[in-house]
Structure formats: structure tokens, C-alpha cells
């Protein structure tokens, strides 16, 4: 049981190393403009470029440059932006991370609960009006872009009907750290999480329904019926349980991506200074240190989530626990 977990942790470290080398090479070793002037930004003065060269050790061999970069990123954490003088990149990413995490975790909670509910209900009432209604609703959910939904929600809750009793509880846009006020933290997140989750609820509901319906055709379901087990128990304990395996895979990918910055549109709409927003700003300014830090941070999350999913697999699928 422990050995596979350690193996996957090892794989994770290897993957992170590979990604960091790759990202480094993309920014530092691609022929063309000199990395120093790229890091220094557009219309930088010769002094700035020289400072960059010194700071990143660009006159030294590539492996040394890589080590300096990694040191700046992970050990001294003093990577600074030259485009935006004095902007400390690592603290900015670290401040943004909890915002994105809160947003995505909250959304994930919502979409898992409702996705499960929709998938199980639709499968249980397969080919009835309940099933059809749920599937149409899911399709609508999937078709609504999260940022558009967010904008519409803002339109109603922030301006037009904000004073109406139904929406008076909605705090102004932005983020309130949990430590400052748990209540405000939760309130500010409710609507962003919901608007981010809607599309995923649709996807997960549909995927789960399809998986359960397929599982219900399996031989072991017939065995369970022949045992005299009740239909609801067959649905939950046998069909749903085996269907969860593929949903977990999907979840790992989606969650990792979102935490890595894919929730950027939702962050912008709700004025949340999350990782996506920071990456977005970095891209606008062609601020290489910011982009690098953000890309590595995203990669780290995708890798961690994948490792967690692999471990979750070991928990829910005994076939993954082969011991010979």
C-alpha cells in the first residue's frame, strides 16, 4: 500500500523537474532575441538589460543559469519584475494562490455534489421525463460560458437588484481573506464559485449518467439482482461505485487545470486577484519572470492533483493495488 504511494511521489518529483527544465529552456535557450532584453521588457534602457544579465547570471553556462533561476524561484524567492520595477513575483503568486484555491475548491464542491445528484437521478430514472429534463438542463449549463454567466450574475446582484431583499446579502466584488472574516470570505465566494461550477455540473452529471447506465449493463449487476439486492442499493453500491473511477480521473484533470489558472475569466469578472489574473497581467506586459513563476506554479498544481488522483485511485479501485 505504501510502496505505490512513494512511487507516485517519486514520479511527481521527476515530472516537476522535467517541466522546470523545459520552461527554463523555452525562456532562456530559444535562439532569437537575447533573454536579458526579453526579461527587461520593451524599450528597456541598456543599464536595465545589464542589470538583468548580472542578476540572472546570463553570461554563465546554461546549467548555472538554470540553478540561479531555480534559486530565485524556490530558495531566496526574490525574483523581481523588471517591467514593473520592484514588483516581487513570488509573494504576488503566493497571495494569489489562496484566492484561486478557494474559488476552485468551492466550485469543485458544488459541482461534485450537484453532478453526482444529477447523474444518479438521471440514471435511476433513465428514459423518463426526469432524465430528459436533467439532461437538457445539463446541456444548458455546459453551453453557458462561465464568464458570461458571471457577468449576468454581477449585473443583477451588484447593480440592478442589489437592494432587492434577495440579493442584499451579496458583498461587493473582490476577495476577503478567511483569516480576516470567515463570513465575508464565504459570501464573496458563493457567486463566483457557483458561476464557475455550472458548466462542470452539466459535464459531470452527463458523464456520470452515461457511466452508470453503462455499468448497469454489466454482468455483476445481473449477479447483484440475482442475489435479491434492492434496486437502489444496486444503483448506489454497485453501479455508482464502479462509475466513480472514471469521474475521479476527470476531476483530477479539471481541478488541476483550474487551480493552475484556467479560471482566469471568472477571476477577472469577479475582480479576484487570483493566479489566472496574475498570469494574464504578466502576459499583457510580456513580463517574463511573472509568466515563468506562474507557469511553474500551475504545472506544480497539475502534477500534485494528478498524484492525488492516482492515490485516490488506490483507495477506490482495488485493482490498482496489485501486490502480485
Amino acid at each position: 500500500m505504501l510502496l505505490p504511494v512513494l512511487k507516485r511521489l517519486g514520479d511527481m518529483v521527476v515530472a516537476m523537474f522535467g517541466i522546470s527544465v523545459l520552461v527554463f529552456l523555452i525562456f532562456f535557450a530559444i535562439p532569437g532575441a537575447e533573454p536579458a532584453s526579453r526579461i527587461a521588457g520593451r524599450n528597456a534602457s541598456p543599464e536595465t538589460v545589464a542589470a538583468v544579465r548580472l542578476s540572472f547570471g546570463l553570461d554563465q553556462p546554461l546549467p548555472v543559469q538554470y540553478l540561479i533561476m531555480m534559486k530565485k524561484l524556490f530558495i531566496t524567492q526574490d525574483l523581481t519584475s523588471f517591467v514593473n520595477r520592484g514588483y516581487k513575483v513570488i509573494p504576488a503568486v503566493m497571495n494569489a494562490a489562496p484566492i484561486t484555491l478557494s474559488l476552485v475548491a468551492g466550485a469543485a464542491l458544488i459541482w461534485i455534489v450537484f453532478g453526482l445528484l444529477i447523474g444518479v437521478l438521471a440514471a435511476a430514472f433513465k428514459n423518463t421525463w426526469i432524465d430528459r429534463l436533467l439532461m437538457v438542463m445539463s446541456l444548458i449549463g455546459i453551453s453557458m460560458p462561465a464568464f458570461w454567466l458571471g457577468a449576468v450574475i454581477n449585473l443583477f446582484t451588484q447593480s440592478r437588484w442589489h437592494d432587492y431583499w434577495l440579493f442584499s446579502w451579496v458583498p461587493p466584488l473582490g476577495y476577503k481573506p478567511f483569516v480576516e472574516s470567515p463570513k465575508l470570505w464565504a459570501l464573496t465566494l458563493v457567486l463566483p464559485c457557483f458561476s464557475l461550477a455550472v458548466g462542470y455540473i452539466g459535464i459531470y452529471g452527463r458523464v456520470l449518467r452515461a457511466n452508470i447506465v453503462e455499468a448497469m449493463q454489466e454482468d455483476y449487476i445481473r449477479t447483484a439482482r440475482a442475489k435479491g439486492v434492492s434496486e437502489s442499493r444496486i444503483l448506489i453500491r454497485h453501479a455508482l461505485r464502479t462509475s466513480l473511477i472514471s469521474v475521479v480521473t476527470l476531476f483530477g484533470l479539471d481541478f488541476g487545470q483550474l487551480v493552475g489558472g484556467v479560471a482566469v475569466l471568472t477571476e477577472i469578472v469577479f475582480a479576484l486577484q487570483g493566479v489566472g489574473k496574475i498570469t494574464f497581467d504578466g502576459l499583457l506586459n510580456l513580463d517574463l519572470p511573472v509568466i515563468m513563476a506562474a507557469v511553474l506554479y500551475s504545472a506544480l498544481f497539475v502534477v500534485i492533483c494528478n498524484a492525488l488522483v492516482d492515490m485516490l485511485y488506490i483507495l477506490i479501485d482495488p485493482r490498482e493495488r496489485t501486490d502480485g
Partner: protein, 332 residues
């Protein structure tokens, strides 16, 4: 007696690796075929029998070089095919063909039967011209007992037995000398199975074919084979003339295997001679030491656990890999 064998396999081995660095158990090596030697003479049928996982299908695929062998030599008409390149193999492929178990899976569902049968002809005899190839397809269709109007149909329009006939016609297209038949009748109903068995016998007679017939069904193998080789965990444990092996098996495994077949005859009490083996076939990843059968053998002695018995010839055609072979009743 001095006819040269069509195919000789010398010490053929085949290993597979299973799992990966990422799987829990790490990489493991499966010795699917382990040091197998055999000869197939022109015009005969050699039956390869054994239970699932004994390596009989893998051996069949090695003999036709569908798999690369891990070790050993395979001489087909005195040429070592184990070491030829793919290009060098091409002319040989015409002379040895394979028929697979599942007639549903081995035919492309989107192609007409005529095209399926013509494909090997188009690949190997592109110079022949369309008219000649079409004529050959009609000839083959007739040969395997299908009707000319079947040429234009698709595989899904046929029953299992008919599909197996299509597979056989395709294999015969290039006039091979050797057919390796991998469980050709196992997926078929009993009544249809007999048709295909008879068809194969007729074709063998008319076209002077040599067969290697791989099957787990002992009564079918007994019906079609001149000689049989019984496999257990990757090795041949006994080989010899079919009648002799079935009448008086010398290896305890062969004996148990034959006695386990339920007999469709109520006059004799089938259970009297039944030898029920205990346990399962051990994993080929971690095979038992010494004689691989010793864990399930009634007659196992201490020496069986340490020394591996080799296939020794007890008469000219008979060989058994056992330290304590069963006596052959002389009166038989």
C-alpha cells in the same frame, strides 16, 4: 520416414514484459514460451493443446513470426525465419498463413468479403491484374463452400461458421504450404464446428496442406491431428502420435487433462477414471522450480522439485518431459 520436416523449431523461447515502472509491481518477465523444440512434417497436422496461459497461441505466433522470438531458431523449409528481416520474410509469408479464433474480430467490417479475400493477392501479386485476382477469389469462395453471391457482402451478414470460412479462404489465397490455425472452431456452435473441422480435412487432402492446429478442446484436437504436443506453462510436456498419446498418456498432466474431458456417453461412468487436479495453473511470471507440474502432480518426488525434466524420446515419435513417466500398457 526420411521426408525433410517442413518446419523445425529449436529451443524457441518468448518472453514478455508486463507492467511498467509506474505500476505497483514494477516490471515483470513472463516466460510465455520456454525452450520449445518441435518438428512439423509436410502434409501432417500437429495439434498443440493445453489450457489457457500454457503458451500455445504465443508459440503459434512465434512460429509464423507474428511475434519476434526471444531465443532459438525456426527453420521453415530449411531457412531460419527467426532472424530474417521483415523484407526478407515477405516471400515466406505467402507460404505460411494464420487463421484466428474469432471470426468476428479478424475480418474488417467495412470491407466486402471479396476484397478481404483479394487483399493478400493484391499485396503479393499486384502484377496479376484485376481479372485474374477476381477469378482466384471466386475459386477460393467455392473452395471453402461459400456461394459466389457472397463476394459482394459484408462480414456482418454472415454467421460465425461462414465467417470462419472467409478467414480460411483469405489464408489460402496465396497457396500456402503451412496453415497455423489458432483455435479455429472454439467460437463456433457444436453443429457448425463439425462443418469447419470437415472442411479443414478436405482442404488438407485436396491442397496437400500442413496444419498446426492450436486448440484447448481435446476432442477436436484428437479428431484432426496426426501428432499432438501437450503444453503446460510454456513447455511441451509430451508429444507423440495422437492415438498413442490419447490412449496411453505418459505424462501425468496429459493423463489428467484427458481424463478431465466430460464424455458425451452415458454408458460408461465418466467419473470412474477422472483424475481431478488440485489447485490452479501457477503463474508463468513465477513458475515453480524443477518440473513445472510438480505442484499439482500426484506422483511428484523430491527430485521433481529441483531437477527440470527434459523432453526425452521414449520411442522415435514419442517424447515426454517427466522423471517418472507413466507406464504404457503393452496390451493396448
Amino acid at each position: 520416414m526420411t521426408v525433410a520436416p517442413l518446419l523445425i523449431a529449436k529451443n524457441v523461447s518468448k518472453c514478455f514484459t508486463v507492467g511498467s515502472r509506474f505500476s505497483a509491481g514494477g516490471v515483470k518477465v513472463v516466460h510465455a514460451v520456454d525452450d520449445v523444440s518441435l518438428e512439423v512434417r509436410p502434409g501432417e497436422t500437429l495439434g498443440l493443446v493445453g489450457e489457457s496461459g500454457c503458451g500455445k497461441s504465443t508459440l503459434g505466433r512465434c512460429l509464423t513470426r507474428l511475434y519476434e522470438v526471444s531465443g532459438g531458431e525456426i527453420l521453415f523449409e530449411s531457412e531460419d525465419i527467426a532472424r530474417k528481416t521483415t523484407a526478407q520474410l515477405r516471400p515466406m509469408r505467402q507460404r505460411m498463413q494464420m487463421v484466428f479464433q474469432d471470426p468476428y474480430a479478424s475480418l474488417n467490417p467495412r470491407r466486402r468479403v471479396g476484397d478481404i479475400i483479394a487483399e493478400p493477392l493484391r499485396v503479393h501479386h499486384a502484377d496479376r491484374g484485376t481479372a485474374k485476382i477476381a477469378a482466384r477469389v471466386r475459386e477460393l469462395i467455392d473452395l471453402v463452400g461459400l456461394a459466389p453471391d457472397h463476394i459482394e457482402r459484408y462480414p456482418h451478414e454472415f454467421s460465425g461458421g461462414q465467417r470462419q470460412r472467409i478467414g480460411i479462404a483469405r489464408a489460402l489465397a496465396l497457396e500456402p504450404k503451412l496453415l497455423v490455425l489458432d483455435e479455429p472452431v472454439s467460437a463456433l456452435d457444436v453443429s457448425v464446428q463439425a462443418q469447419i473441422v470437415n472442411l479443414l480435412a478436405d482442404l488438407q487432402e485436396r491442397l496437400a496442406l500442413t496444419y498446426i492446429f492450436i486448440a484447448h478442446d481435446l476432442s477436436v484436437v484428437r479428431q484432426v491431428s496426426n501428432r499432438v504436443a501437450v503444453m503446460y506453462l510454456g513447455s511441451i510436456v509430451e508429444t507423440g502420435d495422437t492415438e498413442q498419446v490419447f490412449r496411453a498418456p505418459q505424462h501425468p498432466y496429459t493423463q489428467a487433462l484427458i481424463s478431465a474431458v466430460p464424455v458425451a456417453d452415458v454408458r460408461r461412468d465418466g467419473r470412474t477414471a477422472r483424475i481431478v487436479l488440485t489447485g490452479d495453473v501457477p503463474s508463468p511470471i513465477n513458475p515453480p522450480s524443477g518440473c513445472r507440474f510438480h505442484t499439482r502432480c500426484r506422483f511428484a518426488q523430491d527430485s521433481c522439485k529441483t531437477e527440470r525434466p527434459l523432453l526425452t524420446a521414449s520411442s522415435t515419435v514419442r517424447a515426454v518431459a517427466c522423471h517418472f513417466p507413466l507406464a504404457t500398457p503393452n496390451s493396448a
